[in-house]
């Protein structure tokens, strides 16, 4: 069988093209052959000048104006066919030798070679030798007939020369054909085929052969007519031949003649194709096929077979009909032809048959059918044991890869274009229709693909093509590892390694092998390096441009915008960046990745390679790093991997698609999951842009970065040192607070930082932050596990509850190209988030607060009331109101006080250190018009320190006496009185609320003055937060604490009794003796701004509580008025009322003054909490002790 047959094949003249002389460079030979091959059709009209009619031409109807000779150049020639007599076009009718003169200087040798080359072709009717690029010497030699020298010239000229030579050749062939025809007509040439039995020609057969000879001769003449381009003549001869063959029963020749007639028909009607012609051709060809089948003779089937002719005819017809409309008919023909393959003896014939069938199916658009037969061809090739057959097999198999969807990326670079689309759409939409997922894996016949790849691998190993072998093994391993046994996997790995050994170092392959690589994540900038987009319009440029919190995603941000836009990542020129990728080795051998690095197509990134070793069935997350080198966008589609000796590019997208398929059950296995790696959300590659260098602040806490351990309420300074580690100066910097417990930062040295700007590269600045440890609450603390052994587990603060310092800083805001887009030209700023690492330990624990009132009566003395010594300042506070001695408000707490309030704080110390508690009360000026602005510093009253040992508790008393306002003012009650008046008004609630607020304010004011400070050890000190507790304790009785009584009463011994003071030390303390008349005074001070009228009563009681003035057994005699004394006290002044007492019995007495206020004002009523206006208002002074000495 012959390849590439068609119906017109019968009209082509076969010319062998051979190379002679010295070896011709392959490129040259190809060039020459192509130049010759271009002249496959020579017009008869062009031959006229070369043609000379020596005798009358047998081709009577030769179409000189429209006809043509068809030449077919067979490079290298072909062996003679046994069927040459049967079909003349199978003969080599001419020999064309090609010679490259520079390679063969001696033309004689060339001529010799040429003669030798012509010897195998006895039927050659014409011989030519074309010599190209002859040297000058060769040109100068005398002209030879056997060699045509092509003088060196330009391409066009050479083309023309070649055309002329080919036309000359064709003309001489035409003349030879004429001779042949005449010879065949006249002489009785015996035309034989292998079908005719050679040996014993019986007499009967000889007669038969004689009869047949005429028909066969007619057929041969027809063949020559066809070759000579005269279809009409051919048709005439063929008709005769058919008649004769039919008569003689020469079936085989009958079929041949019929075939020739169809060819003549087609040549005659060249170009035009109408249904009638087609029907005719079809009809005749089916007859041809039938005849060939009939010619099949069983007994010589072993030796020769006509099957090949039958199949060839079928293929010719199929080729003629090969159109999609007639697909069914063609398929039938081809399937019939394929069935015939079994009866073909020669393997080569079968090969050709399958090649032709595959080609025809391919033309029909049946790619899978074509692939199937191609694979059959490849298998036939593989049965031959030669390297060239293996190469052919490999090439044929490679052609089928498209149909089986296992093509190499190299052969089809556009292969992943649709995948890319799908990938991006998936990345954008996040949701993909399951149907379109399915379509990603269209036509995946895994078993077929595996077989095919294995065959490619085998053939390319045999063909000695290591790169193809590597590629096939890589595809096989990567796509089908779950279907391959561990031994098979190792075998593939070793074949990869073997192939790589034969490849030069650094070979690249388009098909990735292992490992599977997917993008894991982008490590966020460490909080020290956050990049913040700068808003040049705002002073606080960092606001509104970046997420403010530590959260990347906030559920409150607008959903639509964040989903659609990919996240953006900014990298900085010159600063190393990192990307996490996950590698998986799902196979059963150790995978050594010699180097892996990010593949960047944008060319502005230096990637650093790393080498990884992946044990069997493992996945690993590795960190790939690099440095951006230029400003601009960066795209990272995948990784470059150097593994198994070859460099490949692994795209993230491919693996993403694979994982998608695995998730839907369309792909065999998810390589990451089978390696035990968890399911990961598909990470789409963000847009990465590179910005010019930025400053970079590095911080450290002076004295170590470890966390500071503080007790609750402890105050500590933390010094923070910032260094500019970048290459650009810091020009703007701003500190803000964020995170939890922000109020624990008392002060920050902003100015220290701002004064250090601009901070040059390498510059350093240190500033102080004052911290006060916050109170631990149950929510943000945890039990210290290390102290479980002790009875009481103490609590420490949880991690992450410390406040954060966010330092926003930026380099120069102006760029050189300022003129253009201002917004874009502003380089971003940065944020340094610096957690103030504080570990708060539970310190002194506040148990409870109580308000105690102390009622110790004062002693009456001559100098009373006098200022207390310990609080000098408090006296001074009042000395503008009264003289020192006359101060009634301040009472020495150690000598006595009536109605003094004490705040008792109970504290316990659960820690293992000793605390010393120090209560101080800060006094500031009451906002009173009567009090001038003081010119001295705040007056703190410090009480004695209280020491609380570890795991003990203690109580601290805080006297609250110093908070009384000096004046009982209507303003305090203004609201109340208003309330009374406008009880029905709408304003009621408002004013009430105001009053409450005012009350709270005054309480807060009071509390803020009390500071409970503690100290522990040498350098821990702090303040106890008692606000809430005291507030609760004070809420009820704040009025009593803050407001003075409208009237204060005091008793003293009148100054006249000087002699009493001379009684000595003891008597000076107790100056009152029994049986003596004692002059006393009662002092009444009006604390209001209005004059108060009252009736005063003075009572004296003994220890038993009996009234001593009245009754049957009065023990005290008196002089002066003691009851119902009507007095009028002007505002803020005091009045003394004198009287004398005579004590009959020594002992302790209590003097007390009381007054009934007449015409009480609203203020007084409110103070007394009177319910009605008619109620009498009484005012009672605190009791005073009188110790009367002497003997009864």
């Amino acid at each position: 069988m012959e390849p590439d047959v068609s119906m017109e094949t019968m009209s082509t003249i076969r010319i062998a093209v051979v190379a002679v002389g010295g070896a011709i460079p392959a490129g040259r030979l190809r060039e020459y052959a192509a130049a010759v091959g271009r002249h496959a059709r020579v017009e008869l009209s062009a031959l006229a000048s070369f043609y000379s009619e020596q005798q009358k031409s047998p081709f009577a109807h030769q179409p000189w104006d429209s006809g043509a000779l068809r030449l077919r150049f067979v490079l290298g020639g072909s062996p003679p066919s046994p069927w040459e007599d049967f079909q003349s076009h199978r003969k080599i009718l001419a020999v064309l030798a090609l010679c490259h003169c520079p390679a063969s200087p001696d033309l004689d040798i060339v001529a010799h070679h040429f003669a030798a080359a012509c010897r195998p072709y006895p039927h050659a009717l014409a011989r030519r030798c074309f010599a190209f690029f002859p040297s000058d010497a060769q040109l100068r030699e005398e002209k030879r007939d056997d060699i045509v020298l092509f003088p060196p010239s330009d391409v066009q000229k050479m083309e023309f020369h070649m055309l002329t030579m080919v036309q000359d050749l064709a003309a001489s062939l035409l003349m030879e054909f004429e001779k042949c025809v005449l010879r065949t007509e006249s002489a009785g040439t015996i035309l034989k085929t292998p079908l005719d039995s050679q040996s014993s020609l019986g007499s009967e057969e000889v007669i038969k052969a004689k009869k047949r000879r005429l028909g066969r001769a007619q057929k041969t003449i027809g063949d020559y007519c066809l070759l000579a381009g005269s279809p009409v003549d051919a048709n005439a001869h063929y008709s005769t031949a058919i008649e004769l063959a039919r008569l003689t029963g020469d079936v085989f020749w009958h079929a041949g003649a019929l075939e020739g007639s169809v060819c003549a028909l087609l040549v005659d009607r060249t170009g035009g194709r109408d249904p009638i012609l087609e029907e005719e051709v079809k009809y005749r060809y089916y007859t041809v096929i039938q005849l060939y089948r009939r010619a099949f003779i069983q007994d010589n089937a072993q030796r020769v077979s006509t099957v090949s002719f039958e199949l060839e005819a079928a293929l010719k017809l199929a080729r003629y009909l090969c159109r999609t409309e007639l697909a069914k008919e063609v398929v039938e023909l081809l399937m019939g032809a394929a069935d015939g393959a079994k009866s073909l003896v020669d393997a080569n014939d079968r090969l050709i048959l399958y090649v032709e069938i595959a080609r025809l199916f391919g033309t029909l658009g049946y790619q899978r059918k074509a692939a199937f037969f191609s694979r059959q061809v490849a298998q036939l090739y593989l049965q031959q044991d030669s390297a060239s057959a293996a190469i052919s097999a490999m090439q044929v198999l490679t052609m089928t890869t498209n149909a089986y969807h296992v093509q190499s990326r190299r052969t089809n670079p556009k292969l992943h274009a649709p995948a890319q689309e799908l990938g991006t759409s998936h990345g954008d939409g996040k949701k993909m229709q399951p149907q379109s997922v399915v379509s990603l894996f269209e036509s995946q016949w895994s078993s077929l693909q595996m077989v095919l790849l294995r065959e490619i691998l085998v053939s390319s190993v045999r063909a000695g093509d290591p790169l193809s072998a590597w590629s096939a093994a890589a595809r096989l391993l990567r796509s089908f590892y779950p279907l391959i046994t561990p031994a098979g996997q190792s075998g593939l790995a070793s074949s990869l390694a073997n192939s790589a050994d034969r490849l030069p170092v650094g070979t690249r392959c388009a098909d990735p092998a292992l490992p599977f690589i997917r993008l894991h994540s982008f490590p966020l900038h460490p909080s020290q390096m956050d990049i913040i987009k700068r808003n040049p319009l705002k002073k606080e440029w960092w606001t509104g441009s970046a997420p403010s919190g530590p959260f990347i995603y906030t559920p409150f941000s607008k959903g639509g915008t964040t989903d659609n836009s990919k996240e953006e990542i900014t990298w900085v020129v010159g600063e190393p960046v990192q990307v996490l990728v996950e590698l998986a080795n799902p196979c059963s051998f150790d995978l050594v990745v010699e180097s892996i690095y990010l593949s960047v197509h944008s060319g502005n990134f230096d990637a650093f390679p790393v080498s990884v070793n992946l044990p069997p069935n493992t996945a690993k997350v590795i960190l790939l790093s690099g440095i951006p080198t230029k400003v601009g966008p960066i795209s990272i589609p995948g990784c470059i991997v150097h593994c198994f000796g070859v460099i490949t590019e692994h795209l993230f997208r491919d693996v993403d698609n694979l994982l998608l398929g695995a998730a839907q059950g369309l792909v065999l296995s998810d390589p990451f999951r089978c390696c035990g790696s968890g399911k990961l959300k598909n990470v789409s590659f963000p847009n990465i842009s590179v910005v010019p260098p930025l400053p970079l602040l590095v911080s450290h806490v002076v004295g170590g970065n470890s966390s500071t351990i503080l007790y609750e309420g402890e105050i500590r300074d933390i010094r923070i040192c910032l260094t500019n580690a970048g290459t650009v100066p810091v020009e703007q910097a701003h500190i803000t607070l964020s995170g939890k417990n922000q109020d624990s930062v008392i002060s920050m040295a902003h100015d220290k930082l701002t004064s250090a700007l601009p901070l040059k590269p390498g510059g350093e600045v240190t500033f102080t932050v004052t911290l006060k440890a916050w109170q631990l609450s149950l929510a943000d603390s945890e039990v210290d596990a290390s102290r479980n052994s002790s009875s009481s587990a103490r609590r420490i603060s949880k991690e992450g509850s410390s406040p954060l310092l966010a330092i926003y800083y930026a380099g120069p805001s102006t760029n050189s190209d300022e003129s253009e887009n201002k917004e874009a030209s502003v380089p971003p700023g940065r944020r340094l988030v610096l957690p103030l690492n504080v570990c708060v330990l539970q310190g002194l624990r506040f148990v409870k607060a109580r308000l105690l009132s102390m009622e110790i009566p004062a002693h009456v003395s001559d100098s009373f009331p006098k200022p207390t010594n310990i609080n000098q300042s408090s006296t001074e506070e009042d000395d503008d109101v009264q003289d020192k001695d006359g101060s009634l408000v301040k009472i020495d707490p150690y000598k006595g006080c009536w109605g003094i309030r004490l705040l008792e704080l109970e504290l316990s110390n659960p820690t293992d250190v000793v605390f010393e508690v120090n209560v101080s009360v800060q006094l500031d000026n009451p906002t009173d018009e009567h009090t001038p602005v003081r010119d001295y510093e705040s007056a703190d009253i410090r009480y004695r320190k209280t020491r609380i040992d570890r795991e003990y508790s203690a109580r601290v008393l805080i006297p609250l006496e110093n908070f009384k306002l000096p004046v009982l003012d209507g303003s305090v009650f203004l609201k109340d009185s208003q309330t009374d008046e406008s009880a029905g008004n709408k304003a009621f609630s408002v004013t009430e609320r105001n009053a409450k607020a005012e009350l709270n304010a005054s309480i807060n004011n009071l509390i803020s003055k009390i500071k409970v400070q503690w100290q522990s050890g040498r350098n821990s000190s702090g303040e106890l937060n008692i606000k809430e507790a005291t507030q609760a304790a004070l809420q009820a009785s704040v009025m009593d604490i803050l407001l003075p009584d409208p009237l204060t009463f005091g008793f003293r011994i009148a100054n006249t009794s000087v002699e009493i003071g001379e009684l000595g030390d003891q008597s000076s303390k107790n100056p009152i003796a029994a049986h003596e008349m004692t002059q006393m005074e009662v002092l009444i001070r009006n604390n209001t701004k209005e004059t108060i009228e009252m009736s005063l009563n003075v009572t004296c009681k003994d220890v038993a509580g009996e009234n001593c003035f009245e009754g049957n057994s009065a023990t005290v005699l008196w002089a002066g008025v003691l009851g119902d004394i009507n007095l009028k006290v002007p505002p803020l002044e005091e009045v003394a009322h004198s009287f004398s007492l005579y004590f009959l019995v020594p002992g302790d007495y209590t003097l007390q003054a009381a007054a009934g206020i007449t015409n009480a004002t609203d203020v007084l009523r409110a103070r007394a909490r009177a319910d009605s206006a008619e109620e009498p208002i009484f005012c009672r002074g605190s009791p005073f002790h009188v110790r009367v000495t002497g003997t009864a």
């Binding site: 069914k328 059918k369 995946q444 078993s447």
Partner: protein
């Protein structure tokens, strides 16, 4: 029962979603591959043929050597393909119809994504039983 039979269900996306060697003769792996190659190649012909007739059973559409490919195309263009060497057309038709019913049941499973591989062992058992019955 036929000595050689290979049954494949091909989804509309040309993915084999079910494969079974249902012949009585145990074949070598190489032969099984050849069966699949033949079935894969026959898809080209089915593709054209399916639109020329309203019948679901396309009878034998292709052959290679002595192996014949019979095809049944469902309304959803899922193709049930049988490679066989017997000529029992009626049995094949009944086989296809019953398998089609089984396939519909699979499709009705809300957890089954149309076009993905059929992994139900129940289905496999039933198909093999049908093959023994009809082929």
């Amino acid at each position: 029962m036929a000595s050689t039979a290979c049954f494949v269900i091909v989804s509309r996306n040309d993915i084999p979603i079910y494969e079974a060697e249902v012949g009585s003769v145990l074949k070598k792996e190489e032969a099984a591959h050849l069966h699949q190659f033949i079935l894969h190649a026959a898809l080209d012909i089915v593709q054209d043929l399916a639109w020329t007739t309203s019948a679901m059973f396309l009878k034998s559409v292709d052959r290679f050597n002595d192996l014949v490919v019979s095809v049944y195309v469902t309304a959803g263009h899922t193709r049930l393909m049988l490679l066989h060497d017997s000529r029992n057309e009626d049995g094949i038709k009944s086989f296809f119809q019953d398998v089609h019913e089984l396939y519909l049941k699979i499709l009705l499973n809300p957890l089954y994504l149309p076009g993905s591989r059929i992994t139900s062992s129940h289905f496999d058992t039933k198909v093999r039983a049908l093959a023994r019955k009809y082929l």
